[in-house]
């Protein structure tokens, strides 16, 4: 068992303010600390029969937590999620998937990959049905591209409401 998983599980959530999903949803379950603790308990058999991927699905592999962490723990990898995008040379996401890239991360996708998440085109999380339509349309529109997003709001909203999002 990687010791880093324990370091995250016992960490006082020092990266929670940079996690776009945790910020957008307000859900503690999205924090690396909570996901690491859950996985640690699941692997120890303390949670009974549980699908461990359910505990970690809110991680979008954006790498913001690793960038912030003083220990540089590779959070996404140890949670069994895909590796975060390389900061110097982002690859195109495979078809049908979104690569989530927070603004300010230093990634500069190629022009053909670049797309806006569309939050400013009508997304309002307080209107759930309209928000779902806008966000789902964005998911289709962005498939195979690198999405540059200021706060991950609609992506995070979709994930929080059960969307499966395989990150490239």
């Amino acid at each position: 068992m990687p010791v880093e998983l324990e370091v995250c599980a016992y960490c006082p959530r020092l990266c929670r303010h940079v996690c776009p999903v945790a910020v957008a949803t307000g859900d503690e379950a999205a924090t690396p600390t909570a996901m690491s603790a859950g996985l640690l308990l699941a692997r120890a058999g303390a949670l009974g029969e549980v699908d461990a991927t359910e505990l970690t699905r809110l991680c979008l592999s954006c790498g913001a937590c690793t960038d912030h962490c003083k220990h540089h723990v590779p959070v996404a990898l140890q949670l069994g999620r895909p590796a975060p995008p390389r900061r110097d040379a982002p690859a195109a996401a495979p078809p049908g998937a979104i690569r989530f890239v927070p603004c300010g991360s230093g990634v500069e996708p190629a022009p053909h990959q670049l797309a806006c998440c569309g939050r400013n085109e009508g997304f309002d999380e307080r209107e759930p049905e309209a928000a779902r339509r806008v966000a789902e349309e964005n998911v289709r529109r962005l498939a195979g591209r690198a999405a540059v997003c200021s706060d991950g709001l609609c992506t995070a909203w979709l994930v929080a409401h059960g969307a499966r999002m395989e990150v490239g």
Binding site: V7, C15, R16, V23, L41
Partner: protein, 642 residues
């Protein structure tokens, strides 16, 4: 429990990930249990209200169902106040996250905003709270108020409760506006600050802000002894020099944490780091690396203390450039004169740049088979040495311990103990039981800024024992079904009635304990005969005082009162967080004595008729302000030039 009904009123999850994530806050006892495979008590569900109305709807549902509600900010509390309960719904407030524009040096902010996000938003407009707890990345504004948080610059700006001007609080019986937003009559502001979610749910606050400091000055000093350094700290705080930062690391903390140097790879610690690096690369060793040293705390404490010599003080000032230069130069001279050796700016700058990273050091202790925790107590200067010795010796029986002194005020200071022990609950519990008893025996408060929670509820309950009837009466009025975070504040404790405090002056702490009802002329004449004057001139009896002080200042430090026939002593300690602070909110008729700040009558002052920004007077007079201390003349020049 009809969760379907609740789900129609508010966003809700009863899934395992959401419940698991709020089963524990950051109480290290729960982290220790996690390390042993115990997830903690999972609540029945988590809900995320997005408005004051939704908070009210949740409380109405819970009152009807008889379901406890645990308000949750970001779960950074270290005493178990927000930990999950199996029979409860946890109310996560982070979707209350609106931040208003700054108006008249106040910002209106919702309770679920994370501290760092508030500072980031304010900085865009040139403002800051300067409330800087080490938890700023993982705590919320509402949580700061509910647990009486204090930040690293509290010496200059006060604690967070000092900054909160008004609140909106939702209770099961309706919405209450407090402080500047109260609509006359009873003001429950002091009750909600420190109520830890047990009286109402704080939803919105008005917080005082300041311009981002124009200048900053940081420096380190080495002192030969802790006692000498503490005396220098006290002199500095009582010289009206108002530093933003004053942190003294005891010899063990100085030695272990390398506070004396900016680069940690040089010197005697290099061999130890080489050894620990080797252990870190060997997983089989790593898990047990701390087993032996933590199992023998007395031995390790003895060795470390014998190796340690000297201690480091970090001092810092910030504010308008002209005022900052005057204050820092005077402070620098004072510290050199008190025996401090100048270490240059590096220790201070290093601390400032890494001031939110200390908690990174705690997690690895758990993964190495131990526990790590911190304890923050406070006392007036006259009792500080006894408090330090008593708590340190109590903890050292069970754990390896070091300490630093921070959150210094004119009347006293906080001590922050960091300790690590063998990873067993029995060891953990014994360390805390002995340390809390030692703090109380030394006359300190058991909480300066971590709040109460489950960890300290018995000890804090004894400290505030006579307040319990008032608390219970208010609780019944606001929360008749008893659903708000029940059983975690003001437990029933058996403690004897304390004696009346002795009247007189504590010259070291510059505090006078006086008859609350003595006529002003008699009180002031007797004080003058003893060589003192009130810091805050008060025309009538102290019990009737309506003196309003600045957020960084304090008008009443201790109180003795009679509540429902029983004496209550709120001890003269600086900025206690042992529950709601009612030092200025008890009924006039109940007061017996008040402990208030005093100044030497013979000390010369300089009167000014206008104040430059950043200049703080020693006394507010009817026709101006009085400046005191070694910087008074230079500050008066700044005021006149302005």
């Amino acid at each position: 429990m009809d969760l379907a009904s609740l789900g129609r009123r508010v966003s809700l999850s009863d899934g395992l990930p959401a419940r698991l994530a709020v089963a524990r806050d950051l109480w290290p006892r729960q982290t220790l249990r996690l390390a042993h495979g115990d997830p903690g008590p999972l609540p029945a569900a988590v809900c995320w209200p997005e408005s004051e109305e939704e908070v009210a709807a949740v409380l109405a549902w819970a009152s009807g169902e008889g379901v406890p509600v645990v308000p949750w900010g970001a779960g950074s509390g270290v005493c178990g106040a927000a930990a999950g309960r199996a029979d409860a719904v946890t109310m996560d407030l982070k979707r209350l996250r609106r931040i208003g524009a700054v108006r008249d040096a106040r910002v209106r902010v919702e309770a679920g905003v994370l501290g760092q996000h508030l500072e980031d938003a304010l900085a865009l407009e040139g403002w800051a709270t300067r409330h800087s707890p080490s938890s700023i990345w993982c705590s919320t504004v509402g949580g700061w108020a509910a647990s009486r948080s204090a930040g690293q610059f509290s010496s200059r700006y006060g604690t967070f409760p000092d900054m909160v001007e008004a609140m909106r609080v939702v209770t099961p019986k309706g919405v209450v506006s407090t402080g500047a937003w109260s609509e006359g009559g009873e003001d429950l502001h002091p009750w909600f600050l420190g109520s830890e979610g047990s009286l109402g749910v704080i939803t919105e606050l008005s917080v005082r802000v300041v311009p981002i400091p124009e200048a900053r000055w940081l420096r380190g000093y080495r002192f030969a002894t802790t006692e000498g350094a503490l005396e220098a700290m006290r002199s500095l705080m009582q010289a009206e020099l108002h530093p933003a930062v004053l942190r003294l690391y005891d010899p063990v903390d100085t030695r272990l944490a390398g506070k004396g140097t900016a680069t940690r790879d040089a010197g005697h610690g290099a061999w130890l780091r080489a050894l620990t690096d080797r252990v870190e690369r060997t997983p089989a060793l790593r898990r047990h690396a701390l087993s032996l040293p933590l199992a023998l705390p007395r031995l390790v404490n003895g060795i470390v203390r014998s190796m340690a010599s000297g201690c480091v003080l970090i001092a810092g000032w910030e504010g308008p450039a002209d005022v900052n230069r005057v204050l820092a130069e005077a402070g620098h001279e004072l510290l050199l004169g008190a025996g401090g050796a100048d270490l240059g700016p590096d220790p201070g700058v290093h601390w400032y740049e890494h001031r939110h990273e200390v908690s990174y050091k705690l997690a690895p202790v758990f993964s190495h088979g131990g526990f790590a925790d911190t304890m923050e107590v406070a006392a007036p200067w006259s009792r500080l040495a006894d408090l330090y010795a008593g708590v340190r010796e109590a903890l050292a029986r069970h754990a390896v311990v070091m300490a630093h002194f921070s959150h210094a005020y004119q009347e006293g200071c906080s001590i922050y103990f960091t300790f690590a022990g063998r990873g067993e609950e029995a060891v953990y519990d014994a360390a805390w039981a002995d340390a809390l008893a030692a703090a109380a025996a030394a006359g300190g408060t058991v909480a300066h800024h971590h709040g109460v929670g489950q960890l300290k509820m018995a000890a804090a309950g004894k400290e505030l024992a006579a307040l319990r009837p008032l608390y219970l009466a208010l609780k019944r009025r606001l929360d008749p079904a008893g659903i708000l975070n029940p059983g975690r504040l003001f437990p029933e404790v058996d403690t004897p009635e304390p004696p009346a405090p002795a009247l007189g002056v504590d010259a070291v702490s510059r505090l006078a304990t006086l008859d609350a009802h003595a006529p002003a002329e008699v009180r002031d004449r007797e004080l003058a005969a003893a060589g003192w004057v009130l810091r805050h001139p008060t025309p009538g009896p102290l019990a009737a005082s309506t003196v309003v002080v600045e957020p960084w200042d304090t008008a009443v430090v201790g109180v003795s009162a009679r509540i429902e026939g029983r004496r209550l002593n709120l001890p003269p300690v600086p900025r206690s967080a042992a529950g709601p602070d009612l030092r200025r909110a008890l009924p006039q008729g109940a007061l017996e004595t008040l402990t208030v700040p005093v100044l030497p009558a013979a000390e010369a002052g300089v009167k000014v008729t206008s104040l430059a920004p950043g200049v703080r007077p020693a006394r507010v007079l009817a026709d101006g302000w009085e400046l005191r201390g070694p910087a008074a003349s230079a500050l008066a020049e700044v005021c006149r030039a302005g």
